[in-house]
């Protein structure tokens, strides 16, 4: 097994606001290896977006009040790194694409200039003119007639085309890690599929690793090598994608899979998960999932379950995982 590209240990991210504090990410640890696609799955508000935004320190105006733990990337700790050094990593070593391509491009700047900016910033033109470099990039993400598109503004592009442009922007400097925060959620299904295939193709070409955030287990099955399931700011279960689908060992993972329609075989009734995710400013004691868990026993409300091996490479945080799996 190769050394991890990125190593997150006990990451804890706290936001302060209106007299209460919310710990959106509470003790999360995971590794991403070079070239792998790592999925981060969970409901809205479980902390997956905050986790990936911590890796690039971009919080969209709402900066956390505290960050603890460590994020080791290429030998440096991204939690303690100075802002002035972080700027050099963004775009060149770690890049990010966002959920909504309709709002993620500057409406008053030509597409070509938006693509060239990062290249020029990090000095990655490699002898080409900025224009030629931008054309090459647009070609690589499958935008037709790239020369003509460079001078257009974003409003002339469809959602799928804009996401391709955003991927071109992100990959301009050949980053080692691409953070994709629900990159297909805002797209319709056929375009979704094209974008996923594009990400897989580019991963194969460039050898970059991808942190793929989604709430869609179908997308995980199609793209990810490994996956971590998050619930209420913690990792509930992490495994190779095949292992996770074959042998889900956390009740929450099982509940998520139970809420997914099957295409083949006998279709049981879809099982919704009862209740709502907890308020992260006052999470329940013990296992955070126990108020909604079908398997909960008295002990679950008192003890915090640690992440333990189910089988090699497959960890789960459930006191009763041996009985359930």
């Amino acid at each position: 097994m190769s050394a991890p590209l990125l190593s997150v240990r006990d990451l804890k991210v706290t936001f302060a606001g209106r007299g209460r504090t919310v710990t959106a990410v509470d003790g999360v640890s995971f590794d991403i290896r070079p070239g792998e696609i790592f999925g981060l799955v969970g409901e809205s508000g479980c902390g997956k977006s905050v986790t990936c935004r911590s890796l690039i320190r971009l919080f969209g105006g709402a900066a956390p009040s505290r960050m603890e733990g460590s994020i080791t990337f290429e030998g440096r700790d991204l939690v303690t790194l100075r802002n002035s050094d972080f700027v050099d990593i963004r775009g060149s070593r770690i890049a990010m694409i966002f959920q909504d391509p309709m709002t993620a491009l500057n409406p008053t700047m030509r597409i070509g200039r938006q693509i060239q900016e990062g290249l020029i910033r990090h000095g990655r033109l490699a002898g080409r003119t900025p224009r030629q470099a931008a054309v090459d990039l647009l070609k690589s993400v499958g935008v037709t007639a790239p020369e003509r598109r460079l001078d257009a503004y974003p409003h002339a592009f469809s959602g799928g085309m804009r996401q391709r442009v955003l991927i071109a922007i992100a990959l301009a400097c050949r980053p080692k890690l691409l953070i994709a925060d629900e990159p297909t959620t805002a797209l319709d299904v056929t375009v979704q599929d094209q974008i996923l295939k594009l990400i897989l193709k580019l991963r194969a070409e460039t050898g970059m690793a991808v942190l793929f955030v989604t709430h869609d287990l179908g997308v995980v099955a199609q793209t990810c090598d490994r996956v971590a399931v998050m619930y209420a700011g913690r990792i509930a279960e992490t495994a190779d994608t095949a292992q996770l689908f074959a042998k889900p060992s956390h009740p929450y993972t099982r509940a998520l899979l139970g809420a997914l329609p099957a295409l083949h075989g006998k279709q049981d009734r879809l099982e919704p998960i009862g209740g709502a995710p907890p308020d992260l400013s006052a999470p329940p004691p013990g296992c955070r999932f126990h108020p909604r868990c079908r398997f909960a026993v008295g002990q679950c409300a008192r003890e915090e379950p640690p992440l333990l091996d189910v089988e090699p490479g497959h960890l789960s945080a459930c006191l009763r995982m041996k009985e359930i799996a």
Partner: protein, 313 residues
């Protein structure tokens, strides 16, 4: 080419608006109590004298006849003949137009120069010391009456520390500029108080936009993010505020003109109204309306310049 065509078509569209304004200006004056002949002759005028003068001035004609004569004068460009000045109105207005335009233009430039850096600074460091100071200073500037602020600044910067002239309009370009700085600054304070608030809040809104994160994710330093991606996208609503306020300032400079003794259109309008100088007031109203229409045209052009999604058609 497209711009020229756009401007021409807009001007043609605006002709009916201007025509409407002439009707309102004409009728409002006729509804006002008091008439020029009585005012000119004072209490000693006999009814016969007043009737004679009215005939000389053409005021005994039916209203529609007077209106057509007014329009005729406008179209010919002479703007008619002033009752109070006993001279052609066109040259009189033109002479007063330049000081007013210079005052409004200079104050607008000053307001923009104050707004852009202060709005950016207070938006980025919102809640900080500078934000609080700017807020207090401009709320004070806006709440103080212009004549009071004018007198204070004259005392401070023209009498105690004689940097600027006390009043008057001066001779030659630089001297006039020197005379206009203080009055223009007072108008600009009022404008900037509005535009800083407006631009500050749009910058704050744009700072939360997704494309700003995209720009940061490229590794751009914050300064480039702010000026390349945030600034231009924040401008639209502030352009509207600036345009509306400048239109208002054009007609509202009379107080400042009076305090500083600047021979502008505002003071001419006030004196003409009290003299019931009908032709002059009518001509001035049309002049102000035309200026406002031109500002609106410039505003539309500015929108198109700032936002590529706005098309000139």
């Amino acid at each position: 080419m497209k711009i020229v065509f756009f401007c021409l078509s807009r001007i043609i569209q605006l002709l009916p608006v201007l025509l409407g304004i002439t009707v309102v200006a004409f009728l409002l004056l006729r509804v006002m109590p008091g008439d020029p002949a009585t005012l000119m002759l004072g209490s000693r005028g006999t009814p016969e004298d007043i009737a004679k003068l009215n005939e000389q001035l053409g005021l005994n004609q039916p209203l529609w006849h007077q209106y057509l004569r007014f329009i005729g004068d406008l179209v010919q460009g002479s703007f008619g003949r002033s009752i109070a000045y006993k001279a052609d109105i066109g040259p009189l207005i033109l002479e007063r137009l330049w000081p007013s335009l210079a005052l409004v233009g200079l104050s607008t430039i000053m307001a923009v120069v104050m707004t852009v850096p202060l709005a950016m600074l207070t938006a980025v460091r919102r809640g900080g010391v500078i934000d609080q100071i700017v807020r207090v200073v401009f709320v004070m500037a806006m709440s103080m009456p212009a004549f009071w602020l004018g007198v204070l600044l004259v005392l401070l910067l023209a009498i105690y520390v004689p940097l600027f002239p006390v009043s008057g309009y001066g001779e030659g370009f630089w001297d006039r500029l020197h005379h206009l700085i203080l009055p223009a600054f007072i108008i600009a304070l009022g404008t900037a108080a509005l535009t800083i608030r407006s631009l500050r809040s749009s910058i704050i809104a744009v700072l939360g936009a997704d494309y700003v994160d995209t720009a940061r994710a490229k590794g751009l330093v914050e300064r480039d993010v702010l000026w390349r991606h945030v600034f231009r996208n924040s401008l639209t609503s502030t352009i509207s505020v600036l345009a509306v306020h400048t239109s208002w300032v054009i007609g509202g400079t009379v107080v400042i003109e009076t305090v500083f003794g600047i021979p502008g259109l505002g003071s001419l309008l006030v004196s003409s109204i009290s003299a019931r100088d009908y032709p002059m007031v009518q001509a001035l109203t049309v002049t102000f309306a035309t200026l406002v229409v031109i500002i609106n045209l410039l505003t539309d052009l500015a929108y198109a310049l700032v936002d590529p999604r706005v098309t000139l058609s």
